[in-house]
Structure formats: C-alpha cells, structure tokens
Assembly symmetry: C2
Homo-oligomer: 502 residues x 2
Amino acid sequence: MSGSSESNDAEVPTAASPVPSTRLTGRLPTTTPAEAAAIVPETATLLVSGFGGVGYPKLVPEAIAAGDQRELTVVSGGGVGDEIDRDLVESGDMVRRYPFVPNETVRDAVNAGAVAFHDRHISRLADEVRFGGLRAGTDGPTVAIVEAVAVGSDWLIPSTSVGHSPAYVETADHLIVEVNRAQPLELGRVHDIYLRQAPPHRGPIPLDDPLDTIGGPAIRFDPERLEAVVETDRPDDPYEFREAGDTERAIADNLCRFLQAELERNPLLAERVNLQFGVGSLGNALMGGLSDVDFGDREVSYVGEVVQDGLLDMLDGGQLSGASATSLALSADGQARLFDDVERYAADVILRPADISNAPALIDRFGVVGINSAVEVDLYGNVNATHIRGTRVVNGIGGGGDFARNSRLGIITLPSTAVDGDVSRIVPLTPHVDHTEHDASVVVTERGVADLRGRSPRERAEAVTAIADPAFREDLERYRQRAASSGGNTPHDLESAFDWTR
Amino acid sequence: MSGSSESNDAEVPTAASPVPSTRLTGRLPTTTPAEAAAIVPETATLLVSGFGGVGYPKLVPEAIAAGDQRELTVVSGGGVGDEIDRDLVESGDMVRRYPFVPNETVRDAVNAGAVAFHDRHISRLADEVRFGGLRAGTDGPTVAIVEAVAVGSDWLIPSTSVGHSPAYVETADHLIVEVNRAQPLELGRVHDIYLRQAPPHRGPIPLDDPLDTIGGPAIRFDPERLEAVVETDRPDDPYEFREAGDTERAIADNLCRFLQAELERNPLLAERVNLQFGVGSLGNALMGGLSDVDFGDREVSYVGEVVQDGLLDMLDGGQLSGASATSLALSADGQARLFDDVERYAADVILRPADISNAPALIDRFGVVGINSAVEVDLYGNVNATHIRGTRVVNGIGGGGDFARNSRLGIITLPSTAVDGDVSRIVPLTPHVDHTEHDASVVVTERGVADLRGRSPRERAEAVTAIADPAFREDLERYRQRAASSGGNTPHDLESAFDWTR
C-alpha cells in the first residue's frame, strides 16, 4: 500500500459543492479486497457502514470471510447485506454482533447462541462506540469499513446510508473505504454529516427545523488511518417489500381515520406534521396509505430513520415537503427511481448520522408522530417488538424505542393475528417487553384503534381487547376476569398469563 | 373575592432580585380555604404543585375534601402530602390520579381499582398537560392550586419544589395560590423557572452546564386567572428516610468500588461527573456513601430530581460543586438545616421545572451517571421498578425511566432479597417491566456488580445470577438450564418463569 497524502482542504466537498468531479481524489492506498482484508487483525471489532440494508461494504467483508479464521465483533449502523450477515457468520468469523440482526443467517446464529448479540437503541450506539460504552467484545483493535461514493485523502462521501459511519470513522484504528461506482456521485447532495462533541460539554444539536442542514456531505478523518481503498461496482441488495394485503390496508385505513381526527383536536399538529414510520413492509404500506389523509394547509414532513418507496410516492405527489432520515432503504425499483433523478429528490431528502436522525432531543423538539410495528401487544399496552415467544429474536429494537418513547404521539401498528389467524398478537402479557406501558400511546390493528393515553391499566385492557381479533376476544375477557382476583393496579393471573405463548 | 390588579412588571422578582420584600404584593383576591375550594367545579382536573413530598398546597385540598362531593382528576408534579393523597381519596373526590402515587391511601385505592391511575414519565407530563396529551379524565375545567412563598398580581414564587407548576399555572382555567409563611421567602434564590415553547418550533433547552441558570424565580400568569390567594403557615410533611442498614451500606460499597474503577477507564468522566440518585432511603444512603469515592480533580455535580439529606452532607463537605433538581425532598431535619442557611445553600442549589430537570436531551447532553432503585431485576436486565408481583403498584416510575434510558451510565441498585431474605429480587422474568434490557447498563446489589453493557442475554443471565443472594443462585441456575432448551436469543422456560412470583 502507498502512504497517505497530505490533506488539501480545497478539495474537500462541502454543502455548497457536494459532488466531487472524480471518485478518487489525490494519492490513495488503492488495493485489492484480499489485501484490504489482511489489515484486519485476528481479533478485532469491525465497524461497518450500512443501514436499512443499503450502503454497506461488500467486497472486503466477503474477502475477510474467505480468508483466515478470525474472532470479530461486527458493529453496523443497522441492516446490512449478505456479505456481512451471512458470509461472516458462515465462515465462523463473527462472534459478536451489534446492534440489529435483520438477516436470516445471523439471526439464526444469534438464536442458537452461536453469535452473541445485544440489542441496542439506534440513538445510543454512536456514542457507545465512540466512548467505550459497549464494553463486551470491543476492547481490541477497531477497523472501520465504509462504503463511499467518493474518497479523498482525509474525507469520504457515504453512499446510500449514513448510519453511524461518522462515529465509526472517528473511532477506528484502521480505515478501509470501498468506493462503489454503482452508487451515484450525486448522493453527495443528500448527506448532512454532523458529529456531536463528547458529553458533558456537547451542547444541543443545532437543528431548528427537521429539514434544515447543519453539516456537509463529507466524513472527515485522519489521513494516517486510511489504510486501503477498494473499488467496486456491486449494487446494494436492498429490502424487498411485500405487496400490501387486505389486513395492511385495513390497518392503514384505521390509522388514517385516527390521524384525521387527531389533526382536528391536537394543537401541536395545527401547522406542521412530522411523521416517522418504522422500517418494513407494513411501514411502507402505511406511508403509501397516507394519501387518504386530508392534511389541509399543514406542512407534512417525514422525520425518521428510513426513506422507503412509499415516501417517494408522497414526495412525487407533492404531499410531503421533505424527508429527514439516515438511509435510503428503498427496494431495487425504488433505488432505480431515485438514482434516475437524484438531483430532484436530493432537494427534498436529507440523510443524517443515525444518532441525529434518532436523537431523543430532536424527536421531542419536532413533536414527531412516530408509527412503528410490533410482534405483539399486551392488555396493558406493553409492546414486544423483537422476540417470538419471548425467546427468538426477529431483528432487534432498532430505532423503535427512540420513537415510541420520545414521539409526541407514539403509535404501534400491527395485525391482530399471526400464522393465518391461528395466533393472537393481542396477548394477556408479553413475555418480552421493548416498549413499556409508559411509552406507546396508541395501538392500531385492522380491527380498530386503542387510544391508551392517560388511561388506567384496567381501562387499557378494555380498549386493547376491543381491537383483538373477535376469535380471541372471549379468551382475553376470561383472562381479565381471572386476573381481577389478583387485584392491584395491573391485574394478572400469572399462572395462565403465558398459556397462549408457551 | 376582589378583582385582580393590573400587572406591574417593576415588582416582578427576577434572577437579579429574587426575594420580594413581602409575601403578598399588590391587590390580591385573598380569601379563606373554603371559599377558594368553592371555585373548584363538580367535575374538574386539579393541577397541584408538589414534588418529592414537599411544596404542595395544604389548606385548599383539605377544604375541598371537607366540602361537596366532586369528581376530580388530580395531577401533581410528583409526591405530595396527605391533604391531597389521603384526604381527597377518603372523601371520595379523587377518581383519577397522575403521575405518581407514593402515599399509602391513594396507592391502596389505585390497587383496589377505585382510583384510576396511569403511570407517566416525569419528563413527559408537563407537555402532556399543556398540550392535551393525557386525554382520559382531563377534558373538563382545570384548576391549578400552587403553593408559593410569595405572590403578586401576575407572578408567584414556588416554595420547596417546582415540579410541573409552570406548566400547570399556564394551563389552568382557574388559579388558586396558597402562600405559605412557613417556607422561607429566600427560596426565591434557588428557583430557575423556564417554560419551553410548544413543538415543533420549541428549539433546544439553552442550558450548556447543569449549574447554569436560564430563568428567574417567578412563574408568570394571566392576572385574570388568579381567583384566590389563601395564606397558611402549615409546614410540609416531608419524607422520613430509613437509617441505612448493613445491606444498604454493602450496596453503597459495591457502587463506590464500581464508580472508582469507572472513573479510571471512562473518558467521559475524566473532568466532570454529573450524578443522579433516585428518590428514597436507598438513594439517600448511596449519596451519603459517595464520600468514599476519590474523584480526584474532577468537578462533581448532582443533576437529578431531588435534593435529599445526603446531598447536603456532600455540599457541606465540599465534595459537590452544586445540585440541579426540581425538589428539596429533605427530611424535617434536612429542611430545618437548609432553611437556617438558605442563602448559603442557594448559591449551590438550583430548582428547575421537572420537564427540564428530567429532560432526556439534558441527561444525554450532560452525560449523567444515573443511579436508581428497583423492586426486582430479571436475568436479562429487565427492571420492574413499580409493581409487587407484577400487579400492585408501589409508587410509580417517576423519573426512573428518564434517567435509566438517557443516562450515559444507567445504574440500578437494589438489595438482592426482600421480606427478610425470603424473596429473591433477582428473578427469572419480571412480570412487569419499567426499564427494558435496552436501558439499564449496570445492576448493583449487596452481593456485587453486574456490568451488562453490550453483553448478550446469555452473558447477562450469568452476570445477574452472580449478584443474587447465594440462597437463590442454584434455583436461578436451574431455571437457566430449563430455559436453555427453548433456544433463542433470550432463553426462557415460560411455564416456570413465574413460579417464584405467583
């Protein structure tokens, strides 16, 4: 590898000039994936870019998996591709994983106890990596592998997601950059990179409006740490969204009716509505369904984690003034649509570091209406968003906790049943809790809306039972009768609480 | 009642001149408790001052309880006295209560289902009251009853707590002020009142250091709404702290050892340590125990909810540069000690509105080390802070969730057993969850410290078992063996998970 060149600030892309003329600027340590992989020590923490299944490095993780046996803690922003969460698991190199496991292979390994996983709030992870807050498995050397659309001697421009890359690039002992020619250089226009100071003197995030910008397109780094640049043109392997079915459409209808009524009564939504939807097919379908809401003169923005296909429809339809997120978590079709017209979309879309997109302070400040999904909800409004039968993790909490807790209005949407109607998702007691009864305010199923705000546990149980599938309501009522004998603020019959689950 | 006078800004106490010369300034609608009580409609929401068992109105609630039958939703800042949480319950006037139930009478009524209660995060309540977020039972007229040390035609200075009074005074249709001559006028020196704008244009809270001030001593109001001023000299009936026993001292020792080690390794604690302790005897004992920690040159501040007696010791000992809180939740002795020397203590103590003292944004910004207690903790780090056997509420979540989630280091302290050692507080699965496995990072008992940061659920279970009482460790290990057969990221044997609880 060649040595790094001196920094030349004149060449660093800025908000005013966000698109460099070339992919590689200056003298860079370009090399092969195998040589880059050789930089990774036998025991190390890999800090990889990627969020929402896009913007992750591809060739170097693949080369690591193909190379010598290692013991790696792998930390991403959010969801990443098979080169990381399949190949590194199958090769036996991955022993620990943060903060999210949406891919099947890594999820199976985690559920088998073969890969250690602890589920972190997205908003917290950047600080935990920067300031040593993860502890387990992160004591060794750190190697950041970041996908970029362009790189210079001391800067890079991320590709289709920002995630926690600014924090990872700052923290890493060794930096490897994958420049991906399949990702448009014009993505420089969407990024607003801002790295917070360390507590206790970090000050507020200086963002007054969710569509303002406070940074520029480039992540800066110490040029000494840039040890390899690898080129590729392999595209992202993004999410595929399920087509919305009758149930999703009925949930969307109920949600829209609720939002319409809330617009009339809620003084905080009189002028501006800042909406967030969670990652996934239901979230995508709900975004698409929003065209049925009459927002009147209100300005409507998306203020969340991921730009999904449903958002592009709303942008094209003029219903949305803009979107602030950390990932372009589009389908392949959605990605093609955005890439064909990046400049136009870039005027309305901002990608931020995930500790900014998910910052509790900003979710509060902007009065976000947060809409997320769940595995199951119990009678008292506790939400299990991550674990089937309380034991098998599905994906991880992601940003759900950030938005459920800090939104002005935290809404949980889910079908009332699973497994073709055989299993109720409205249960007496969730065996795993991700959002407590203190957090989510409103639950929506295809059967109706349970507005839990301010209600006592007994009142909540009644409201939640009413949005269960009718086939399970009698059983839920019988549970409530048995529970009544326990007394207490939150009645339970713990002997039968898990009869449906176990 | 006489009409209110015109505002005269020259007379309003300010940060520069925080102590008015008289208790009552200008022409005020002074009256008797019974006449003030008559202002309260038959169905209404009472918004009362008080937090940490101090600073609550006394005579008017007592008069309401003695008067006509009413249906009242009662909302306080936090803990209040018997005139509210005993008398209004016994008289049958209280039908709903937010956000916290530390008094025995109201707690029993809530657990019997006679008073509806929903447990709210302290940080969220002011906004919920101001902007209609509580919904249930708050549609009718609102009456604020606020204890003050002094009042003018359009301002008041709170007494021993601020709590949510600024929000309540702003929201109320009718305002009643109790001026308490037993509370020193000099308390004007400790208050820093600041009311945030409404989302989505509220901007950040402009506080760069936890010991800065951004407001003044007075809560302002529309003079038209001030309908009664009642005078009293009845003192607060504050908490009594239990003397620390061997178990508390052992917990304090373990906590201090952990903090000492953390000071060495944690870069965020290199210069400044901002500590929070929860309300109660254990919190008070832990504060007292901190004198064993060698903080070196670091500046140490208290950044939390309540100033308890243990903090006065630290202030007197010069170990603490200052305290930011929302309540002087002192014992009677502690209150006497502070009142005897208000001016000196006021130089180091700041009382803020509870939505500022507990703001997630500030807890994050100041990198708080948050130390709170619990009813029980499970193998995976889920924390039940409020419900005995998952059903009977003890008090409420208070600010525990604000600090457990948003602290840089969220620590849960608890004795490993209850009921003279007969019941383990380390359990397989908590039947109620207030802080999820995603939140608290470290658990401390008298048996040791479980550092859960970044650990997988299986690893957490091992660490948590090690700090259980030895009499229960074998049973916990047997549970883990049974649970292992379920597989999954978070193994459980749901059939026996509550064998200890039910």
